[in-house]
Every structure is written in structure tokens, then in C-alpha cells.
């Protein structure tokens, strides 16, 4: 089941068109979708355009990074995957899935990103609800900056993951400063800090959920319920 509620359809269509045009003119960033389901692709495109537009308009650092990539000879490929789930403490937890694959290729799961990283399980519909609450809507540009920067520097320099990762963290933090979100951690940083594992052996679902409780999940821009 896919249900999308837009706050402002006209505004959305306008900004989406602008981003689409800018892609067509000079982008060397390729967005590939792994699914062939038109509903899922439509959903992922909605996320992509919404969050990219938000990132481009609200963060000068993100716009600078995006332009640098778009005007460079280096190709960055972002492969958008279908939602993946992890079993933690006996429960299925959808989390953001993104990874570095070298040579400028990044995998990113936009379905998970939509609720990054705090989806809510709806026991009536038996589905996970992904809300882009205000803090999350603001952290998503940081994640986009990280992914684009990491892939771009891998393509540009061919350096190892760690070097690209360090540069990507700087890019992410620049965007976070632009958006006044220095104090909000993102999941990757918490993982690294706590050396947390999502394996069934060591994952602790209660602690993991509580970690994110202080975020307000109601101030939604888009709310989506998706049942695979």
C-alpha cells in the first residue's frame, strides 16, 4: 500500500520540474533504480526530488557540492535500492541502507531514507510508517551531501574508503551547519561512537528505539505508509 500526502502539490510540481531541468542540462550524477515496480519508482522519485530540492535551496554548501560534481568530468552513480530490513532482537527494523562501492558508485535506499532513521510500526495496518519529521527532513540533506561527496571523491581520486569517508563527513557537517543542525547526530555517527552492531547477537532493540525518542515525529512534510 502506498499513500502519499503532499502539503502543497503546486509548490512540489514546480520545484520538481526545476530539478529535473537542471539534471538534464549538466548533471554527471546518475540515479539508477533497482526496482522495476512503477509504484515504487514513482515513490522513490518523489523522495529524491523533494529532498534534493530541499537540500539545494536550503544549504549553500550542498548546492556548491552539487554544482562541483555536476560540472566535473567525474561520474557519480547513485543506485537507489528497494527497502531492506534488518532483524534486530527478533523484530524487523527498516533502516537506512547506503554504502560505498568504490569508483564513484554509491548505493542508497530511499525508501528507508524517507523515514530516516525512525520509522514507526502501525499495528492496525501492519505496516511501517515513514515520517519525515522536521529533524529528519533536515538531516536528509546531510546524508545526501555525505553520499554524493563520498562517491564523488572516490571517482575523482580513486582513494580508499576511509579517505573519501573523512571528506564526506566534512561535507555533511558543512550542510548541517547551514541548517543549524550541528547538535543532531545521525545514525552513522552514533554507530561509530558506540561501536554498535545491528547483528542479532548484539543488537538491543529497546536501547536503539529509545535513542531516537526525543525527536518529534509529527511535524511531517510527507507521510508515507509502505507495505512490501
Amino acid at each position: 500500500m502506498v499513500r502519499i500526502i503532499y502539503k502543497s502539490k503546486i509548490y512540489f510540481i514546480l520545484i520538481t520540474s526545476l530539478v529535473l531541468i537542471s539534471f538534464k542540462v549538466n548533471s554527471t550524477i546518475t540515479w539508477q533504480f533497482t526496482t522495476t515496480d512503477p509504484n515504487i519508482i514513482a515513490l522513490e522519485q518523489t523522495f529524491l526530488m523533494t529532498f534534493l530540492t530541499k537540500s539545494l535551496t536550503e544549504s549553500p554548501s550542498f548546492a556548491a557540492l552539487f554544482n562541483e560534481i555536476a560540472n566535473s568530468p567525474n561520474n557519480v552513480t547513485i543506485i537507489i535500492g528497494l527497502g531492506q530490513n534488518f532483524i534486530v532482537g527478533g523484530k524487523i527494523i527498516p533502516v537506512v541502507v547506503d554504502y560505498y562501492a568504490g569508483g564513484g558508485v554509491m548505493y542508497l535506499d530511499l525508501l528507508d531514507l524517507s523515514g530516516y532513521p525512525n520509522p514507526v510500526y502501525n499495528s492496525e495496518t501492519h505496516s511501517w510508517e515513514y515520517g519525515t519529521a522536521k529533524p529528519w527532513a533536515l538531516t536528509i540533506p546531510c546524508l545526501f551531501a555525505h553520499v554524493l561527496s563520498e562517491g564523488y571523491h572516490a571517482a575523482k581520486t580513486g582513494e580508499s574508503y576511509e579517505n573519501c569517508h573523512k571528506i564526506a563527513i566534512d561535507a555533511e557537517n558543512d550542510v548541517r551547519k547551514d541548517m543549524g543542525q550541528e547538535d543532531y547526530p545521525i545514525m552513522g555517527r552514533v554507530w561509530e561512537k558506540d561501536n554498535r552492531s545491528l547483528s542479532t547477537d548484539t543488537g538491543n532493540i529497546n536501547n536503539w528505539e529509545n535513542e531516537w525518542d526525543y525527536y518529534d515525529n509529527d511535524a511531517n512534510l510527507i507521510r508515507i505508509s509502505y507495505e512490501p
Binding site: 534488518f86 537506512v96 541502507v97 547506503d98 554504502y99 560505498y100 562501492a101 568504490g102 569508483g103 558508485v105 554509491m106 548505493y107 546524508l143 555525505h146 553520499v147 563520498e150 580508499s160 574508503y161 576511509e162 569517508h165 564526506a168 555533511e172 545521525i186 545514525m187 552513522g188 555517527r189 554507530w191 561509530e192 552492531s197 545491528l198 547483528s199 547477537d201
Partner: protein, 171 residues
């Protein structure tokens, strides 16, 4: 008669001298060749990435020869925005750089998709490289009380006497 003997002696001396020169040249060449060989890794792909391996050797706090005793389960997540690692447990054979006095060591290896260390299909380290009994030379740094590598492709190289000698020359 005396003259003949002198000629024979002279010929034998000449022959001996030529033989001596030949043996010296052959020995010298073979020594030179073996010296050349010790400057090279035992595999072409290592030679092709010599500069990167040298950087790793110079950056590492420790370089250890070790045999894999066991491999912990993978977290199931590739490195991306968050760094993901898989732990491998080793029996220490020798220490090439730094100091380490214990007989076992656990090293957290980077899990990066499409890297030399990664499996082609599953989210885990390659079983071709990381299997119990395999001997590796590992470039290690210490973070807090844990040990980790820092290069998903050449954070380890296969152990051999030749590879060890090349590394010794590098550091």
C-alpha cells in the same frame, strides 16, 4: 721438454683463470638476481600496488604476520555513511613493526563493497582471503583498546618470506 711443460702450465693457468672469471661472473649474476627478487612482492597485483602498500606500511602503527584462527559474524552492513567492520582473530607469528607481546590478536577489518577484502556476493569479508589457517601480513592501527585496518584493499597482503623481506626494506 722444459718449454713444453711451461706451455702446458701456462695453458692450464689460463684455463683456470678463465674458469675462475666465469664462476665469479655466474655467482655475481645470481647474487645480483636474488637481490633484485627480494625487492619484489611475490605476486603481480601486489607489485602493481606497491606504492599504496608502502604508504600503508609507513602509516601502520604495527605490522604483524599472523595466522587466522577464526572469523566473527558480519554485521551484514557495508560501510557507507557509517563505518562497518568485521572482526578476525589471529595467532601471531611475528611482528615486523611496532611492539606486540601477546600470542593472539583480534583485528577489525573494513567491510567495503567491491573491495579486494570483500566477498563478491554476501556482506562479509572474502573467504578466499579470510579463512582459518590463512597466513597474512596485516597493517594495523590501534584505536582505544582495539586494533583495526585502514585500507579495504591492501590492509593485508598474503604472508610469504619474500613479501616480508620487501616490507622490511620499505620500513
Amino acid at each position: 721438454m722444459n718449454l713444453d711443460i711451461n706451455v702446458i702450465y701456462s695453458r692450464r693457468l689460463n684455463e683456470g683463470f678463465v674458469l675462475f672469471i666465469l664462476i665469479t661472473l655466474i655467482t655475481g649474476c645470481s647474487l645480483f638476481e636474488s637481490n633484485l627478487e627480494s625487492d619484489e612482492f611475490d605476486a603481480e597485483y601486489l607489485e602493481n600496488n606497491k606504492e599504496r602498500i608502502k604508504n600503508n606500511a609507513l602509516s601502520a602503527q604495527m605490522i604483524i604476520n599472523a595466522e587466522i584462527s577464526s572469523i566473527d559474524a558480519s554485521s551484514g552492513v557495508w560501510s557507507g555513511c557509517g563505518v562497518s567492520r568485521q572482526q578476525v582473530n589471529y595467532k601471531v607469528i611475528g611482528v615486523l613493526k611496532g611492539s606486540y607481546s601477546q600470542s593472539n590478536i583480534s583485528v577489525n577489518h573494513l567491510l567495503v563493497n567491491n573491495s579486494r577484502h570483500a566477498d563478491n556476493d554476501l556482506v562479509c569479508l572474502s573467504p578466499t582471503i579470510f579463512s582459518p589457517g590463512n597466513k597474512l601480513i596485516i597493517f594495523i592501527r590501534q584505536v582505544d583498546n582495539e586494533y583495526e585496518d585502514f585500507d579495504e584493499d591492501y590492509g593485508t597482503i598474503p604472508y610469504s618470506e619474500q613479501n616480508e623481506n620487501v616490507l622490511k626494506d620499505m620500513i
